[in-house]
Amino acid sequence: MVLVTEIKKNLYKDSIQLMRISQSIKSLGGVVEAAVIMATETNISYLLDLGLYDENKIQADNNDIIIAVKAENRDIAEEALRHAEDELLGRVKAFDSGKKLTGGYPEVNTFQEALRIAPEADLVFISVPGKHAALVTKRALEAGRNVMLFSDNVPLEDEVELKREAQKRGLLVMGPDCGTAIIDGKGYGFANKVRKGTIGIAGASGTGIQELSVLIDRFGGGISHALGTGSRDLRREVGGISMLRCVDLLEKDDSTEVIIVISKPPDPIVEDLIIQRINRCQKPVVINILGGDILKLQKNCRNTAATLEEAAYLAIKLSGIKTAGEEEGKNEKIKNLLADLKLQLSLLGPEQKYLRGLFTGGTLAYEAQLILKNGTEDSLFSNIPLPGIKPVKDLRRSEGHTILDLGDDLLTQGRPHPIIDPEIRHRFIRKESGDPSVAVIMLDLILGYGSNKTAVDDLSRLIKSLKGEKRKSPVFLVHVCGTERDAQNLSASEKLLVDAGAVVCESNALMAMLALKIINWIG
C-alpha cells in the first residue's frame, strides 16, 4: 500500500468540482482511497479520518489544494495523481451534453412543446407506428396544421376520419404511407433535388412522383410542388379527399402553371369525381392513371398519358418548354440502344430467354408490368401482379419472366427498405444472374434524399464482377431515377454503371420497352 500526496498551491476549485474529481480517481482500478480537497482545517481532519494524511508532506494552507491517493502500488497512485491534476487544470473535458439541434431548434419530446417553440411551422411530418398515428395527426389538425403522414399500417377507418377532419378545417393530410413530397423546392421523405419550376404534381404514389420529377428535370422543366395523397386515397371509403384538396391547392398556387395527377386505377366513382374536378380546373391538367382504361380517359379528359414518361413530356409541352428529345424520338432511342446491345445479345445462349425485373420502387415495378404485359402475358409473374398477370409462387425461385417489387411490405418486415439498404436486392441479383435461363435483368436505381449513399458504387461493382465472371452473363438494364443535383449525381452514376457493363435507360418506361424488344428479339 502506497500513499502519495501532492499540493497545488494557490489553486481554488469549488467543492463540487473537487468532489467529482475525488470520485473519479477513486474509481480507478487499484485505488483504495483518495481525496481532492481545499486544505482547510475541517478538510485536513477528513484526510486524517480517511488515513490519507501524510504529515511530512502536508504544508498547505486554506488557499491550496491537496491531492491524496492511497493505492496498491506506486504506479497506480501516481497515475491517479496525474489524472486528478489533468482534471483540476481543465485538461479533461468533464461533460459532454451532446444535445442535438435541428435547424437551430432544440429537440423536444411533445407536440405541444414543438408548437410552442416553433409556432411559425405550418406542416407537421409524422412518422410514428401506424396504430398511434391517428392520435398524433388529430392533434396537428386541431392545431390548424397540414400533415405529411409518413407512417404506414394506419387503419383505413382512421384515414377516413382524419381526412374528413382535415376537409372540415380546410387542411391537407398527405398519406398515410406518403413517402415523398416536394414543397417549395424542398424535398420531404424520399425525394430528388429537382429544378424549381411551374409543374405541380398530385400523386398517390411515392416513386411515381420521384420518377416524374426527375424526368421533368431531365427534359428541362421544373417542379413547383409535388404533393402526395397516400396510396389509398382514391378508394371508395376515402373518396379522394386529399387528391381533390391537392388539386385545389395547386390550382390556387401562383407558381404552378400545369398540374399532373398520377395514380393507379381508382374506384370508378372516385375516378369520375377526379375527372370532373380536373375538367373544371383553371390550369391544364395531365392525368396519368397507370393501368387505367386509357381509352375512357382519352374520351373524358383533354390531356392523358399512359406512362410516367409520357406524362412528363406532356406537362413540359403544356408549360411551353422546348425540350430536346420529343416522344417521336423514343423509337429512335430504343433502336439505338438495341443496336448497342447486339454484341451482348449475340453472346447469350439459346437457353437464356427470361427477364427478371428487380425493383425498389413499387410504382416503377407496376409500370414495367404494364408495358411488358403486351407480349408476355402467359409467362409474366409478379409479387404485385396487375390483373391478368400471374402471382409469384415462390419468392426464392423465380420462373418465366418475373417482376419483383422488393420494397413490398412482405419483404420489408423487420428489414429496412431496399432504397435505404440495398443488400437484399444484391442477393436477388446474384441469384438471378446465376440462373442459366435468365437473359435480361432490369433494375431501377433511386437516388436523392433518403437513399443509400453508396448504392451506386455497390451496384456498379456487383454488375462488373458478375459480368466478368461468365461469358454468358445476362444483360443488365438500369434506369437511374435521379438528377444532376442529387448528391450521387445522375451523370456520374450513369457513367459508373456503363463502365461496369450495364445499359443505362433514361426512363423506367424506356427501360421496360427495351426489355420487351429484347425478349421478343430473343424469342
Binding site: 468532489m19 481525496a35 480517511l50 423536444v108 411533445t110
Partner: protein, 416 residues
C-alpha cells in the same frame, strides 16, 4: 377516452393553483391550528407509513418529538412508545401541513400559519431549526431538544407577535422576486430568506418588547438561509390544495417522500396516495461518504416542484449546481423537459433565461406516462443513521410507477 373533459378539468385545477394568494398570518402551536392534531399525534413527511417501516432518521425525529412532548423521558422509552401503538402517526399532508426532511410535527411545536386568501384554505409547517445536528435529520440529544424548547417558548411566540404587527406577510411576492434573484425555491433560499428577514425585522422589533429576545430571534432567522423554506412550503401546499378535488383532473396535487416510499396525489382522485419505493438520489457525496451511507430520498419539500418551483425552475438558479453538481446548461435543459409534462405556464413566476417564460405548472400524469419524462428536483441526502445529518446532495426523479398506478386508478374511477 374523453380527453376534452380531462383537458377542461385540468385547466380548472391549474387555474385555481395559480390564482391562490397564500399569506403568512401567524405562528401558533400545532395543537391549536392543525386539524386532527392531538397530544399523541405525530405527523411526518408523506406518504403515510407504519412505524415499523420508517427509516432511521425519521424514527429518530419521532423519538425526539415524543421527548419534547414529555411523553418519554429518554430515547429508549421514546422508541418503545412509538412502537406500542399508542401514538397516532399520519402524513402532514393529510392535515393541511408539510414538513422538510423527516417533517415531524408534534402538538406543542409552533407552526407557520398560511392562509390562501383567494380560496380560504390553510397550510401549516414547523420552524426551520437551521444547520448542524437537527431533528429533521433524526438528530437526538440535549442540543437538539434544547433548541426545540427554545423554538417552542421563544421563537414561535416572538414571530407570531411580529407577523400580527405586520398584519400579514405576502408570500407570493417574495417567491416571485426571489426567483429573479437566483433562488430555485427548493434548495436555494438565500434571496427569499433575506427578503423576508429584511422586511420582517422592523415588525419584530416593534412588536417584541424584550429587545434581547428580539435580537436573539432576529440573529436566528437571519443566519439561516432556509428560514423561508418553512414558510414557502405551506404556502405552496395551499396553492396545490386549491387545485385538488376537481373531477376528471389528472393534475398532481402532491409529491412527497418519507425516506422509504415516494408518494403522489392526483386532483381527480382525492384522498388516494400512489406510492412506490423511494429511489436513490443521484448524488455527489462529501468526502468519506458514499451511496452505501445514504438514506433514500426524504421530505415534503417536493411540494415545490408540484407547483412549478425547484427542479421546475432550476434554470433560474444557475448557482444551484454548486450544491448538486452539473452545469447550468444541463440544468436548463432538464428544466425545459419539465414543460413537456405540465398543463400550463404560470405568468406570476417567470424564468428570465427562458425569455421570462412562466414556470411549468400542473404535472399531468397522462403526459408523464406518454413521454416517460418524470418530474425531478434536487435535494440534500441524509445519512441513513439518525442524527448524523447531510452527507451529500443531488437529483431525485419521481418513479414512473407512481404515475402508471395513478393512470390505472383514474381510468377505473372514471370508467373510461
Amino acid at each position: 377516452m374523453d380527453l376534452e373533459k380531462i383537458k377542461a378539468a385540468n385547466k380548472k385545477a391549474v387555474k385555481a393553483m395559480m390564482e391562490a394568494e397564500p399569506v403568512l398570518v401567524g405562528v401558533k402551536p400545532a395543537s391549536e391550528v392543525i386539524p386532527g392534531m392531538t397530544k399523541k399525534t405525530i405527523l411526518h413527511a408523506a406518504p403515510p407509513i407504519d412505524w415499523k417501516r420508517m427509516c432511521r432518521p425519521m424514527k429518530g425525529a419521532v423519538a425526539g418529538a415524543l421527548m419534547l412532548e414529555g411523553l418519554a423521558k429518554n430515547e429508549t422509552e421514546a422508541f418503545e412508545l412509538a412502537a406500542s401503538g399508542e401514538i397516532t402517526f399520519d402524513a402532514c399532508h393529510n392535515h393541511s401541513s408539510v414538513g422538510p426532511m423527516a417533517g415531524v410535527i408534534s402538538s406543542s411545536m409552533p407552526v407557520f400559519v398560511i392562509k390562501n386568501t383567494k380560496h380560504n384554505n390553510m397550510g401549516y409547517c414547523c420552524m426551520n431549526e437551521g444547520r448542524g445536528k437537527v431533528l429533521r435529520y433524526g438528530g437526538l440529544g440535549k442540543e437538539v431538544l434544547d433548541r426545540l424548547k427554545w423554538i417552542n417558548e421563544v421563537l414561535g411566540p416572538a414571530l407570531d407577535k411580529g407577523i400580527r404587527e405586520a398584519g400579514s406577510i405576502n408570500v407570493k411576492t417574495i417567491l416571485s422576486e426571489a426567483l429573479h434573484m437566483g433562488d430555485d425555491l427548493h434548495n436555494r433560499y438565500k434571496a427569499a430568506s433575506a427578503l423576508f428577514v429584511s422586511r420582517f425585522i422592523p415588525h419584530l422589533f416593534s412588536a417584541v418588547e424584550d429587545k434581547k429576545i428580539a435580537k436573539e430571534v432576529s440573529i436566528f432567522i437571519a443566519s439561516n438561509d432556509y428560514t423561508f423554506l418553512n414558510i414557502a412550503m405551506p404556502a405552496m401546499k395551499t396553492m396545490a390544495d386549491a387545485g385538488s378535488n376537481v373531477d376528471y383532473s389528472t393534475v398532481v396535487t402532491a409529491m412527497a417522500r418519507n425516506g422509504t416510499d415516494f408518494g403522489i396525489q392526483v386532483s381527480g382522485l382525492p384522498g388516494q396516495w400512489f406510492t412506490a419505493p423511494a429511489p436513490e438520489v443521484k448524488a455527489l457525496y462529501f468526502p468519506g461518504y458514499g451511496l452505501e451511507d445514504a438514506n433514500p430520498d426524504m421530505g415534503d419539500s417536493s411540494i415545490t416542484e408540484t407547483v412549478g418551483f425547484g427542479g421546475f425552475a432550476t434554470a433560474a438558479s444557475p448557482v444551484v449546481v454548486q450544491f448538486v453538481g452539473g452545469t447550468p446548461e444541463e440544468e436548463a435543459e432538464q428544466n425545459r423537459l419539465m414543460y413537456e409534462i405540465v398543463v400550463e405556464e404560470n405568468p406570476a413566476f417567470t424564468i428570465p433565461v427562458f425569455n421570462f417564460r412562466g414556470i411549468p405548472t400542473g404535472i399531468d400524469i397522462l403526459k408523464v406516462v406518454e413521454t416517460n419524462i418524470c418530474p425531478f428536483g434536487h435535494t440534500g441526502v441524509a445519512h441513513k443513521i439518525e442524527g448524523i445529518g447531510q452527507i451529500g446532495a443531488g437529483k431525485w426523479t419521481a418513479p414512473i410507477e407512481l404515475f402508471k398506478k395513478a393512470v390505472i386508478a383514474f381510468s377505473e374511477k372514471y370508467m373510461i
